[in-house]
Symmetry: C2
Subunit: 546 residues, 2 copies
């Protein structure tokens, strides 16, 4: 007989740059997002789930008249008989769809519109290690509120979110800045919008990595990097370099001054009247006020802000945009302190820049401050897990009217990794209790057991493979990370008992046969059938305690 | 000055056939899915979130060698320099990706592999009313278990899921059948695989709609439908039509027989030995056994199953596949009754067919039995909200080895609609308490109020729009479905009080000015500032009670 010609088998592979998530990775993320959604909701933010697909026109990054838009987004053309269907694409973030939704529904939506969104976004980019083409974002934005109270609210909410998911106070800091202040400084320096200004911004972004000395080199003549390559500098004069470094270190300088008593000794350094509402330049009154502030923690925080603003104030001179930025920053700082968000949670920090063109006012960033070991075993801070700021022109694209907006995006994968790192998420996956099948005809009895266990809140399942080989059943339980296996053969049935195997303890004994303490502890128990649930619960509690 | 030429503004529209979900629609669904995931998890099912994008090859519906696959899925070609990139597509369901994932990871996954998945799927179809191109699915499948214990487990789990989300027992029924039984009947009738058999299957699927008389006409010569159009019949002989109708009504006939005492009086009608394990055909013994069964509810359920199987047994004759199907059905029925899933939750029902080619063994379907009014105001049953069955060839496409699998898909949107219908989900959306801004400079005080409310578990927000026009603030609160507005102006501040407006009651008074009972009840309260949280809580409790 001639062999039938077979169609070639398809390959079972995840497309390049995509990945599948299994078990605990899915449920841990869902649980984390649920907690964050709870905080967002309590703050009055409403959920929005826009369609994953947008017109390329609405996304705004690409023109539909080119043959095939493919840089950055996954796009395709709708089929129409005349071949001129719309170009559609998968969303690449959650902000562009928000702008579209707000423009579309602005008459029905409340203004300001507080909304949160969680879900996958897609990027048509070259995949790399840790760089995927589909990943989660988790955003909260307020559209239509010009007041920086909206920005302050989001910073406070961000701090609450981090604590809610399990990052302890002291393990994170939300840093706040305002792009207008920086623009004011650059204006005073005479740097116009353009290449050089952008180069300065890019360099400032590296402050955390290369430190003051590095930034000085990069702003000036250039610098040899760690690999030995020479990086060209921006070419600023030494005076200009000094201004930028003063800007970046305004907060740390202010803290140092307070620490060293400089401010106390030299009250004229501060013009409290601008920030404190005390409307005085009288040296004695200022001195007294400083004494008073130094007495409480909140007072010292307030003083640190004033000192920072004062330092910044000297750099922005008469720049209108700079003064506006400083006022906004001071207003946010006051609001946050008044709500009890002290410098143990939220600080003003001029070194926060957050990328380039996008933001127009306040910018903010949440950083985890605990240390982890990097791939080379060196200690480093965990780093940024969320960031955002104010942007004003997204809705304008659709309606022609500028609509102020501000929002934050939490890096879902990074925050999840941080929770694992801090032990906030169980690293040991716990599978279900597995009831083995010793007698194929008594499936109903085994099902009754898992029913009892589940009603007691214990995850449980019957082995549903071919029960012939009992070893396979235990191997299966192992692969399932099962904590307990239940065995009821003919003999046990007759005697009204069941055997329970503590698989976690069993694995430990197997791993370290020398540990006598474990060897002496039984890992298998025979209990009356009626005690099944109670004994399983006891074993699970014992495993949890270790 | 010459006008600047502007780029045309993009349209702010959801792409055709897609939609956005707002607020409660998102959170209600998330909450429902969380409850279902809890049940799946308790049964030992593990979460899987595969990538939304698959290779067209893996999805298996389309060939990448045609110019543009566009019927059914959204697909695009990866850009490679030689123009020969892979064709990728959005998944159209959650089962095809499961087959790919299982084939890809089968050495690492446990077998049997119980997994659940929830998420959007995409169909490139003509949109219509209620027909969207992106929608949610929520599936649970067991891969690698040949035993119908796996199917029984999924039916039990489905019943548990419905009760967990809020469908009361009695408001739903899970109906179970086995495709092999039907195949056996058709085999005995001499209908081969092919057009006529498929026509019979399609007709059976209409049984619920057109009833016995309608099915008789459609299987025979044809039928005038409600619109007056003539529908051609399948052309079966009257004898064959009788067989199909007997098959479809096997269960109802059995129930009637029990009701009328036919089975009691005529025990020879049943060959209990096949199903009951009693191995007897002795009329007296059978009669006694029936008497015994009639005494308990479970016994009567058991008897109804036996009577149904007996009726089906007569139709399948010696067909091997039919006998195999009947055995499987009996095994499932026994397992389910043994686990306490009686006919108030799960029944054997030969009229369940579930589509055409896909399923190979057990099929099951959950139906909501309470009545709703259709668009024309007529009463009808709510109908199907979930279904599934056994399919065996999906993994084979990749590996060449047949892997048995069975699974269920819950219709997320329909189930959510049912919960709304039954009042299990609040139809009245409740927004946050809105703290109004009477004095722009006291934003910190207002923020302190929402802070207190949130710490007490009450959703709350400060009005962040321009506060100048107080009427706009109340309009905003209205749009937010806010239950309470908080007002603290200069005067209140001085007196240490706040005003609270009960907005729900206020709206009721406004709506029905004649209702004196409401008119007499105050909808605005002045309370000491210190009592803010307590009084808001009291108002909310009062609103909930109504």
């Amino acid at each position: 007989m001639a062999k039938e010609k077979k169609a070639p088998r398809p390959k079972a592979v995840t497309p390049k740059g995509f990945r599948d998530y299994f078990g605990q990775d899915v449920t841990d993320r869902a649980e984390m997002l649920r907690k964050i959604a709870g905080v967002y909701h309590a703050y009055g933010f409403d959920a929005l789930e826009s369609s994953a697909v947008e017109t390329v026109e609405a996304l705004g990054k690409f023109l539909p008249d080119v043959d095939r838009p493919n840089a950055g987004v996954f796009a395709w053309q709708e089929s129409e008989e005349d071949g001129k269907g719309d170009w559609l694409a998968l969303r690449y973030d959650l902000t562009a769809p928000l702008a579209r939704v707000y423009a579309q529904h602005r008459n029905d939506l409340p203004t300001p519109y507080r909304r949160y969104a969680m879900g996958p976004v897609w990027r048509n980019e070259k995949p790399g290690p840790g760089r995927y083409r589909q990943f989660y974002q988790c955003d909260a934005d307020t559209v239509g509120a010009a007041s920086v109270a909206a920005d302050a609210e989001i910073c406070a909410m961000l701090a609450d979110c981090l604590e809610e998911v399990g990052i302890a106070r002291g393990d994170y800091i939300v840093r706040v800045n305002n792009r207008k202040v920086l623009n004011g400084v650059l204006e005073v320096m005479g740097l116009e919008q353009g290449d050089q200004r952008e180069a300065v911004l890019r360099t400032i972004d590296k402050f955390d990595k290369v430190g003051e000395a590095g930034v000085r080199e990069l702003l000036g003549k250039g610098r040899l990097d760690a690999s030995g390559a020479y990086i060209d500098g921006v070419g600023l004069s030494e005076d200009h370099v000094n201004v930028v470094v003063k800007f970046l270190s305004a907060r740390t300088t202010a803290l140092d001054d307070i620490e060293r008593g400089v401010i106390k000794a030299n009250p004229g350094f501060l013009t409290l009247s601008i920030f404190d509402g005390s409307e005085t330049t009288d040296a004695r009154a200022v001195f007294d006020r400083i004494q008073e502030l130094m007495e409480s923690e909140t007072g010292r925080w307030r003083l640190a802000n004033y000192a920072t603003f004062s330092a910044l104030g000297q750099l922005i001179g008469n720049s209108e945009v700079g003064i506006q930025g400083l006022k906004e920053l001071a207003e946010m700082a006051d609001l946050l302190l008044a709500q009890g968000y002290g410098h143990d949670r939220i600080v003003i920090d001029p070194s926060v820049v957050r990328g380039l063109g996008y933001y127009t006012g306040p910018v903010y960033e949440a950083e985890l401050t605990f240390e982890i070991l990097d791939e080379k075993g060196r200690k480093r801070q965990f780093g940024s897990v969320a960031g955002g700021g104010r942007y004003d022109d997204l809705v304008k694209r659709f309606t022609g009217q500028a609509v102020p907006a501000t929002g934050v995006s939490i890096g879902v994968d990074r925050l999840l990794a941080a929770l694992r790192e801090k032990g906030r998420i169980k690293s040991r996956e716990v599978g279900p209790v597995v009831v083995t099948v010793m007698d194929r005809d008594r499936m109903a009895d085994y099902q009754a057991m898992v029913g009892e266990l589940r009603r007691a809140g214990i995850r449980a399942e019957v082995y549903l493979g071919n029960p012939k080989n009992f070893g396979n059943q235990l191997k299966y339980a192992d692969k399932r990370h099962s904590p307990v296996a239940v065995i009821e053969g003919e003999d046990e049935k007759a005697r009204g008992v069941v055997q329970l195997k503590d698989l976690i303890l069993g694995a430990k004994i197997a791993e370290s046969a020398t540990l006598e303490e474990w060897k002496e502890r039984p890992s298998q128990f025979e209990v009356p059938r009626a005690d099944l649930v109670a004994k399983v619960r006891e074993i699970l509690a014992g495993q949890d305690a270790e």
